[in-house]
């Protein structure tokens, strides 16, 4: 793996809600290599988006980062983002780490033109003058393959299609030349045809700009196509980390295996009955003791109910938190 651009260790995020406190992210560690893509896979409530928000210090007021370090390699050496104050963090956001969300309509301001919104970070973060910012904005729109950028700069978000809006969001995210792009379900709200085009665009931009990507998704197909490494999360914890090929060839955790098996095939023989993972996602307020997946695990035995399983190695850079590994 390339030297790590981002190195997260033992990240834990606690939420204090009306229903009581709980940890949304527990003891999560991972690396993102320079120019590499780490896919973070998990279901709703697995803690994948909260992890991303914690990296950017964009957690809601009810959440606290209770422990962990976020080492980010910057131009002046590595810094722990978890320890940065708001003013320093503002320089990191957008300029060094940028983010793209699932729903671009929710992130774009409906009453400002697209041009205004692309030029804003260029003027504030990069200190460009108006004419220079406009020229750069047109360049950025061309970069994300938007036809006739001049017209789009004058358009309002509602005048664009979902795919176009996501392209605009990507252009804004790339405007200050970040080294890490966090993409949180960037194609989930899009049609499969648009998704394919956006993923192709992201892959191409990543190569050209030598950018690292943290790709959060629930879709293993997207991971298969786009990620170099994968981290699988379940109920706030990492259950498996692996290079992408090894994960699909030899999943170590029963949850990963279950996810892979439950996907209906597009070309191979179609099974009569899909191999579903039984049961429901564990509630964060009533996590089962031991391995949180044990109530749904077809292989669970007594020890799984008692203690948290440690990580066991399956291969180079491949480990899973399961007592059955290696087997």
């Amino acid at each position: 793996m390339a030297p790590a651009l981002l190195s997260v260790r033992n990240l834990t995020v606690a939420f204090d809600t009306r229903r009581g406190p709980f940890d949304a992210v527990r003891d999560v560690s991972f690396d993102v290599g320079a120019g590499q893509t780490l896919g973070v896979v998990g279901e709703s409530g697995s803690g994948k988006s909260v992890t991303a928000m914690a990296l950017m210090q964009l957690l809601p007021d009810t959440a606290t980062l209770t422990s962990g370090t976020i080492a980010f390699a910057g131009p002046s050496g590595s810094r722990n983002l978890a320890a940065l104050g708001e003013r320093e963090m503002q320089k990191v956001r957008g300029r060094e780490i940028a983010m793209v969300f699932q729903d671009p309509m929710a992130s774009l301001n409906p009453i400002l033109t697209v041009g205004h919104q692309i030029m804003e970070p260029l003027r504030l973060q990069m200190g460009l003058a108006k004419a220079a910012a406009r020229a750069r904005a047109e360049e950025l729109l061309a970069l994300v393959r938007i036809p006739s950028p001049g017209d789009i700069l004058r358009a309002y978000p509602h005048e664009l299609s979902g795919g176009m809006r996501q392209r605009v969001m990507i252009a804004i995210a790339l405007s200050c030349g970040p080294k890490l792009l966090i993409a949180d379900e960037p194609t989930t709200a899009l049609d499969v045809t648009t998704q394919a085009q956006i993923l192709e665009l992201l892959r191409d931009l990543q190569e050209r700009l030598h950018m690292s990507v943290l790709l959060i998704t629930h879709d293993l197909g997207v991971v298969a196509e786009f990620a170099d490494d994968v981290m699988v999360m379940y109920a706030g914890r990492t259950v498996e980390r692996s290079p992408v090929q090894a994960l699909f060839d030899k999943p170590g955790h029963p949850y990963t295996e279950g996810l892979l098996n439950s996907m209906p095939p597009l070309e191979d023989e179609d099974p009569e009955v899909l191999q579903a993972i039984e049961g429901n996602v564990a509630s964060p307020f009533a996590l089962p003791p031991g391995c949180a997946f044990h109530p749904r695990c077809p292989y669970a035995f007594d020890a799984c109910r008692q203690a948290l399983p440690p990580f066991a190695a399956l291969g180079e850079g491949h480990e899973a938190a399961c007592l059955r590994v290696p087997c």
């Binding site: 279901e43 709703s44 299609s161 979902g162 795919g163 176009m164 049609d191 499969v192 045809t193 648009t194 998704q195 394919a196 085009q197 993923l199 192709e200 629930h218 879709d219 293993l220 197909g221 997207v222 991971v223 298969a224 196509e225 990620a227 992408v244 090929q245 699909f248 949850y255 279950g258 996810l259 439950s262 996907m263 209906p264 095939p265 597009l266 070309e267 191979d268 179609d270 009955v273 899909l274 191999q275 579903a276 993972i277 039984e278 429901n280 996602v281 749904r296």
Partner: protein
Amino acid sequence: MLIRVDNLAKHYPIAGGFFGHRTVGAVRAVDGVSFSIDRGETLALVGESGCGKSTTGRLLTRLIEPTAGTVRFDNMEISEMDAGELRAARRRMQLVFQDAGSSFNPRMTVGALIAEPMHLAGASAADCKARVQELLPLVGLAAEHTDRYPHEFSGGQRQRIGIARALALRPDFVVCDEPVSALDVSVQAQVINLLTRLQREFGLTYLFISHDLRVVRHVADRVAVMYLGRIVEIADKATLYKAPQHPYTRALLSAVPAHRPGAVRKKTEVVGEIASARAVPSGCRYHTRCPYVMPICRTEEPELTELGATHSSACHLVQTSH
């Protein structure tokens, strides 16, 4: 044959003028669709958002009135039914929605929600209760769930409640509108298995509306591909996935992410985005995105042409080569 649809259309007027009193155009959500569904069969409707697949589902159950065309349900013309006849027919056709939770009254218990359609149909309280107790295990819920409220359940369980409610009146035909799209991956397979099991057990006929071509391949017998309000290709499942003829079907299939990393996948054939149903392109509606476009495609709309016993496609390219 349980369902027969002929030239079905739904156009929504676009209001214009200073006070919005004038009609300046129409959104052609569904624009001349014909197909049939056999008893016990699953026909899947696939396509991008805005292609008219959900509108078609609502037209079939007459939740909205068609602009033109006919829908025959068990040899009865549903657009000619009076209110009483329609109510009787509706007991036999039900809907399962994408987000079951949002169609429930949050103040009603699960038992009351499932029994509601029976209540409205005039069943006694005792009958309703007995039927709820029969339905809960059938959809994988426990008998004691009957007194709980919808918010206490996960997305997958709420979808099970929605399915139980749809089955309460023992329907023949169920429109499943993106029934698993909002569910987590690990729960999707459970609900798909439930739907296929129930179909076998009760001989249900499904119209399965979905944008997910993997799920469709698993559940459907036949597949109709819609684009801008029209069916561009319809075929039995094996043919559609193995030998798709319409460029749009091929584009859709090529856009599905691979199953394995490094899998050989043809470069995505698709360009651009779905055109607007407010301004349907002339000729073939797909010509603005089609990589094989010919001059005739811009002027003449291709008809759905039979290519085999169970395979039709609407494309000039296919017609010239056949």
